[in-house]
């Protein structure tokens, strides 16, 4: 989760005064509490591992079924991520660096599939091609559902690149292709690595998509085990292996990212890059974004229309849809506010008072955000089963908090980084306490970013399935769980209104994401 495409990365120079005497303030305390909370699922997985004992644990982990799941999951990641990356780079280049007709419209259309929840994508594909299943289907639908996560940062990075370096390379005799591969592509490394990590983590966490097209991954197998034994050791051991997979991805990304500098040296502004003329190639080049839009937007929308048409007026059962919508909005709003508020202390510390301890704390938050909802939910089930918060909205919100904290954190960091520290210092010199200064000055300036972060969290909650299924209070039916209940009974027509509402709710947030990514590029 370290790489939502919103990172502004503006550096703030800190005066010694800003650092001193702050570390143990209540802000640090709050950050510590949130970070420890974030470590709960991880601690739980370790604890269960120890509890289970080596003999049982190894019998449950080192068996052929786990091998199968490992192969499935690994193949999925290894095939999907590079495909997404190649597609994203090609599309980003077309929309940002060429005179592709309608480039701005394509840029927005290529982000729009994010408004369609992943399991709605596979529902659409199951309708169009009922025989789809297994690894090829898994890879195809995953690419379609998740490539925008790579397209967004890559396009933003391309917009931001200083074309001066390309000019120099060209003047030294490199052809256009050589310039692209030797100058442009290396500079996209951070964006590609970050986006790839995000896609990879989504692949590990996704449940509904793969159940519908019959492809078993660790996440689907954990839910199977959960439904067979509630929280038996087998489910917990599988989730242990899944955690290891997530960390492997994180490590891989860190290694691939490298330590090179990518910033311009010296002052001045980069000029706008020239758009390359596609000439007679623009026809064939248009095919790529067009095809992708048909697959990623056309198929779901046509399918939804088809089922809504087939179901007629009777599928619009507002007595059921109304409460689902209301509960979803309630959970999304509460979760978004809670998560954003919880992220404030950590975000502030990491910008205003960076140090080794802060970096460790922050890493805790990101790490847990990378854990699939199923692992977080399983941990919370076992931890809360004897507590009064069991099966209340509190537990679900806690799960959302843990899962979506990085989204809020990254947005807030960007916002706080843009709020000048001098204003905060001025407020303090006028007698405000640090907390007052933070609240009255910095938070007010960072409010737009906080809102963007909250919207991202809300979007995540609206489309969240597994943790909600496992933790929700009695009687809860969110849009996602209602959709899931109907589509598992193969009542695709009754499921369609829920899917449509989820898409409509997600659209404005996707738009926001798109706008934000253009703004960070400064254009």
């Amino acid at each position: 989760m370290t790489a939502l495409p919103l990172e502004a990365g503006a550096a703030v120079r800190l005066t010694p005064a800003a650092r001193s005497g702050w570390r143990l303030s209540w802000v640090a305390g709050a950050a510590l509490v949130v970070s420890l909370l974030a470590l709960l699922p991880l601690g739980f997985v370790l604890w269960v591992g120890v509890q289970t004992g080596w003999d049982t644990a190894s019998a449950l982990i080192f068996r052929p079924r786990v091998g199968e799941l490992l192969v499935n999951t690994a193949l999925l990641v290894v095939l999907t991520v590079p495909l997404c990356a190649v597609l994203a780079v090609a599309l980003a280049w077309l929309t940002e660096r060429s005179d592709l007709p309608g480039a701005r419209t394509w840029a927005w259309l290529l982000v729009a599939p994010l408004a369609v929840p992943a399991f709605v994508h596979s529902y659409a594909w199951m309708t169009v091609a009922p025989g789809l299943h297994g690894l090829p289907a898994g890879v195809m639908v995953s690419v379609i559902a998740y490539f925008p996560f790579l397209y967004l940062p890559v396009a933003a990075a391309l917009r931001r690149l200083d074309p001066g370096m390309e000019d120099s390379a060209a003047s030294l005799g490199l052809g256009p292709w050589a310039v692209f591969f030797r100058v442009v592509l290396p500079q996209l490394r951070l964006a590609v690595c970050g986006g790839s990590l995000l896609v990879g983590l989504h692949l590990l966490a996704e449940y509904g998509l793969y159940v519908m097209i019959r492809f078993d991954t660790f996440t689907t197998a954990i839910v199977d085990q959960f439904q067979s034994t509630y929280n038996g050791p087998a489910a917990n051991m599988l989730s242990g292996v899944l955690v290891v997979c997530c960390f492997a991805l994180l490590g891989l990304e860190a290694a691939a990212r490298g330590k090179e500098r990518y910033a311009r040296v010296g002052s001045g502004a980069a000029r706008m890059p020239f758009k390359r003329q596609l000439g007679e190639l623009s026809g064939p080049c248009l095919l790529l974004p067009a095809l992708l839009c048909v697959l990623a937007l056309g198929v779901p929308l046509v399918t939804l229309a088809r089922w809504l048409w087939a179901g007629g007026a009777s599928v619009w059962r507002f007595d059921e849809i109304g409460p689902s919508l209301f509960q979803t909005l309630g959970l999304a709003a509460a979760g978004a506010v809670l998560t954003t508020v919880a992220a404030v202390p950590m975000a502030w510390l990491s910008i205003r008072s960076p140090g080794r301890l802060q970096r460790v704390l922050e890493a805790c938050n990101y790490m847990v955000g990378s854990l699939p909802g199923v692992v977080v939910a399983l941990a919370l089930v076992t931890v809360t089963v004897r507590l009064p918060i069991y099966q209340t909205a509190i537990t679900v919100l806690l799960a959302y908090l843990l899962m979506f904290l990085p989204r809020a954190l990254i947005s807030l960091r960007a916002g706080i980084a843009q709020a000048p520290v001098e204003l905060e210092q001025a407020a303090r010199s006028l007698g405000r306490t640090p907390a007052q200064a933070l609240w009255a000055i910095t938070m007010r300036l960072a409010a737009p970013s906080a809102a963007a972060g909250a919207a991202l969290v809300g979007l995540g909650i609206t489309n969240e399935l597994t943790a909600t299924l496992m933790l929700a209070p009695n009687g809860t039916r969110t849009l996602a769980t209602s959709f899931w209940a109907y589509s598992s009974e193969i009542d695709y027509a009754a499921a369609a209104p829920y899917a449509l509402i989820m898409v409509l709710l997600s659209l404005p947030m996707t738009w926001l994401l798109y706008q934000q990514s253009r703004r960070t590029a400064g254009r």
Binding site: D224, N231, P388, A435, P473
Partner: protein, 341 residues
């Protein structure tokens, strides 16, 4: 103002992180203050029809928590006496046995037991059958002729059936069938059959999905329960028009009739309401919904006929299995060992 904004920021955090458990205590103490909580593993639509009709008749509110048999059964066991559940309804009996073994059921009223014949409920009377469902082999009419059908469910373990049949191993339905096999043929035979199944069968998620695949000709046949076929036939037939049901009969493990159970939790603080709900389902009101509604499960109430479209229960020649003896824990262990879970 300064103080206010400071305390606001603090309060927001505190509200989120510290005061939250306190607020929730008020919520959990009486989750069912105005009604009963039903842990429902039966089909959501059937139980909703039951609950709506019951609420309409009695004014007692019913809140449903939907899940699968073993998931909710194990959940109740883990929750123990603190369980918010008042009533537990399942699709199959192994999960009922699981909760009963943990000593968590209250005895049912004699009047409730009187609604159901003795062969559809355990003798101890701590839960009762509320519906029944028959195992069938569903096959694609274009791919298999009646002569090519398996004579016994055990035949599906032979190499001849490799890659030709499907099931939904993660579902409670299929696990109930395995528990009957375990009860009838013993552990070694069951383990061997499951091992062969891992080799031979294609796993799907959900019986409806198996039916859909068979209908589409993606696979020749599959083990499911009968009513998925009838339900789809009653709607559009889109997922079943090319399919046909084969009943194994002859007391074969594949002719197993699974009993859906209903019971009242001993820890329920709403005993009268909970007892009334189970009695209502087992009685005429609930059983009529099975007979006339679109659930197509068998009615088990005394003197209540099932939906006339179904093959009568008496003609199915089901093997005799004590529903209270079916063991879900052992089944999920065996299936985990076989690599199916």
């Amino acid at each position: 103002m300064k103080l206010l904004s400071f305390s606001l920021a603090g309060a927001a955090l505190a509200a989120g992180l510290l005061a939250a458990p306190l607020a929730s205590t008020a919520q959990t103490v009486k989750p069912s203050a105005e009604g009963i909580v039903v842990y429902n593993a039966q089909h959501a639509s059937l139980t909703k029809a039951w609950a709506d009709a019951f609420s309409k008749e009695t004014g007692i509110k019913v809140t449903l928590r939907n899940g699968s048999d073993t998931e909710l059964g194990n959940q109740i066991v883990q929750e123990g006496k603190a369980s918010p559940a008042d009533v537990f309804l399942t699709e199959n009996s192994p999960a009922m046995a699981l909760v009963d073994t943990a000593g968590l059921f209250a005895p049912l009223d004699a009047a409730t037991l009187a609604e159901v014949p003795a062969n559809f409920r355990p003798a101890h009377g701590r839960w009762t059958g509320i519906a029944a469902r028959s195992t069938v082999f569903v096959y694609n009419k274009a791919k298999l002729t009646p002569e090519q059908l398996p004579k016994s469910m055990l035949d599906l373990a032979t190499p001849a059936w490799k890659g030709r049949w499907a099931a939904s191993p993660s579902g409670a339905d299929f696990q109930a069938i395995v528990s009957a096999l375990l009860e009838l043929k013993g552990e070694a035979a069951t383990a061997a059959w499951l091992k062969a199944m891992k080799e031979n069968a294609t796993p799907y998620k959900g019986n409806g999905t198996v039916l859909k695949a068979v209908n589409a000709g993606q696979i020749e046949g599959g083990i499911i329960y009968h009513y998925y076929y009838y339900g789809d036939q009653a709607k559009t037939g889109e997922n079943s028009n090319n399919a046909q049901l084969h009943y194994f009969r002859n007391q074969d493990p594949g002719a197993f009739v699974s009993i859906s159970g209903g019971g009242v939790l001993a820890s329920s603080k709403h005993q009268p309401e909970a007892q009334a709900f189970v009695k209502w389902i087992a009685g005429k009101g609930g059983q009529d919904i099975l007979k006339t509604g679109d659930a197509y499960e068998y009615a088990v109430g005394t003197g209540v006929a099932s939906n006339p479209k179904l093959v009568p229960l008496a003609e199915l020649q089901a093997p005799k299995v004590q529903p209270s003896k079916l063991n879900s824990k052992k089944v999920s262990d065996l299936m985990t060992q076989a690599g199916l879970l």
